[in-house]
């Protein structure tokens, strides 16, 4: 793959499209070039490609030397050398030294080739360099393809009626009723009937010996409120164990008497 770096620079007015094979390039021309590397992996890939080498078969010693030369050059040019470049230099040196070590004993032969990790990373990075190029080559909006549009006609202002859910309806009613309750309560009036008072009245009417029909305790002329209060009074008396309630069978009349 050709790096999209060309033309590299102009040296004495001469455009350089190819790096000279030896490393010596006039420093000011190189500066532009070196700054365009995307990092140590990019630089290494460049060095490998420049010599038409197979990534799988990089001569570590030679590549390391070239890398170091470039680094030295970059330092000479006082380029801001990112830590990543120096880290890579250290790594290359380490690989080189491990390759120089005596042949491993059979037992240790499971050990990876020291270059394996470097090669893996170079290959992985190369794949994404290619992917980036492929992506860039895709037709894209505003470059090869354009959205086709035509002036929209004058708009009619349409506004759809709001949607309503059944639950909304139910909630609205609940709220209205709850408020109605507040409204009705607000007129302050003396409570005409208190449950306590009615409890006493009920007890008065009941006998400890004789049963009284449940229905007799209610006075229709008192209205709903009266009936409710009487009912509550009876419940309260039952709860307090002051009444006894009898019903012979389901739906049969209910009778009450006072507990002795």
């Amino acid at each position: 793959m050709d790096t999209p770096l060309q033309p590299l620079a102009k040296v004495d007015g001469e455009p350089y499209t190819q790096l000279p094979h030896d490393l010596y390039i006039p420093p000011d021309a190189l500066e532009v070039f070196l700054e365009t590397f995307e990092g140590p992996l990019d630089l290494l890939l460049y060095l490998i490609r420049r010599q038409n080498l197979n990534i799988l078969d990089i001569p570590i010693a030679a590549i390391t030397r070239q890398y170091m030369d470039y680094l030295a050059l970059m330092q000479e040019l006082r380029l801001e050398l990112a830590a990543e470049y120096l880290l890579m230099a250290a790594w290359l040196a380490e690989i080189k030294s491990r390759l120089l070590l005596p042949k491993p004993a059979p037992i240790e032969s499971e050990e990876e080739d020291p270059r394996a990790e470097l090669i893996r990373r170079l290959q992985e990075y190369e794949r994404f360099q290619q992917a980036a190029q492929a992506l860039d080559a895709l037709p894209r909006l505003e470059r090869e393809i354009f959205v086709a549009s035509a002036e929209p006609p004058h708009r009619e202002s349409t506004r759809p009626p709001p949607p309503v859910g059944l639950v909304d309806l139910l909630n609205a009613l609940r709220e209205a009723l709850a408020r109605a309750e507040l409204f009705d309560r607000h007129p302050i009036r003396r409570e005409t009937l208190s449950v306590r008072e009615r409890m006493s009245q009920v007890l008065e009417r009941l006998d400890a010996l004789r049963f009284t029909a449940f229905t007799e305790l209610f006075q229709p002329e008192e209205g709903r409120l009266g009936i409710v209060v009487t009912f509550l009074a009876i419940l309260e008396l039952l709860r307090e164990g002051m009444l006894e309630l009898v019903q012979s069978e389901p739906f049969a009349p209910i009778y009450l008497r006072r507990r002795g």
């Binding site: 002036e151 004058h154 759809p160 709001p162 209205a176 408020r179 109605a180 409204f183």
Partner: protein, 200 residues
């Protein structure tokens, strides 16, 4: 090389704004630049091509422009339709009271809600065809009695009013309102609901 009118079509579609004759000429490299007359003729051809289609070529002050004919405005407008605003609480409460308590007069609705019901709300509900007047209460003033319509049932996917979700009673059934009061004493149906209330 594509036909002249086709290139012009592509350029006008991509531009999305009116293009003067000069700008149209400018998209051709000098060697291939057509005569103004040829350009005009091609544009006229294009205009004819668009008969019966969803676009038209219009000449405006600043040049030529492709547009969507106004005949399509109802469909196009719906593309950007504003999201429906929500109904006010007042409207929903009114509708709910009519649904659950029909037939009901406006005065009765007001009695429960504690505030007057605006004419706008009643109008909106009638325009949406959700409520209608079904009669008049025989009291002084003969107020209209409102009820919900079939459209209302259809909208809420109900076969009949009996499918409305049951309303659990407020704490004190005594206080629900005039209309309710009247019913409770007569019908047992609504008081059944009342007894479900756990608070009593």
């Amino acid at each position: 090389m594509p036909e002249l009118k086709i290139i012009l079509e592509a350029v006008l579609l991509a531009a999305g704004e009116p293009l003067s004759l000069e700008r149209l000429l400018g998209v051709f490299p000098e060697a291939e630049r057509p005569e103004r007359e040829a350009l005009r003729a091609a544009l006229a051809e294009l205009a004819t091509d668009y008969t019966g289609r969803g676009l038209e070529l219009v000449e405006v002050a600043s040049g030529f422009r492709l547009g969507v004919p106004s005949a399509f405005s109802s469909w196009v407008s719906r593309l950007w339709e504003e999201r429906a605003a929500n109904y006010s609480r007042a409207l929903l409460e009114t509708l709910a009271l009519i649904a659950y308590r029909q037939p009901i007069t406006r005065g009765e609705i007001e009695a429960v809600r504690g505030v007057s019901v605006s004419s706008g709300i009643m109008k909106t509900l009638q325009e949406r065809d959700w409520i209608k007047i079904v009669g008049h209460r025989e009291v002084p003033g003969r107020p209209a009695l409102y009820a919900t319509t079939r459209v209302f049932l259809d909208y809420f996917n109900l076969k009949s009013l009996s499918e409305l979700p049951p309303l659990t009673a407020p704490r004190d059934p005594n206080l629900v309102g005039l209309d309710l009061e009247r019913r409770i004493t007569t019908s047992s149906g609504s008081s059944t609901t009342r007894t479900e209330s756990p608070d009593d």
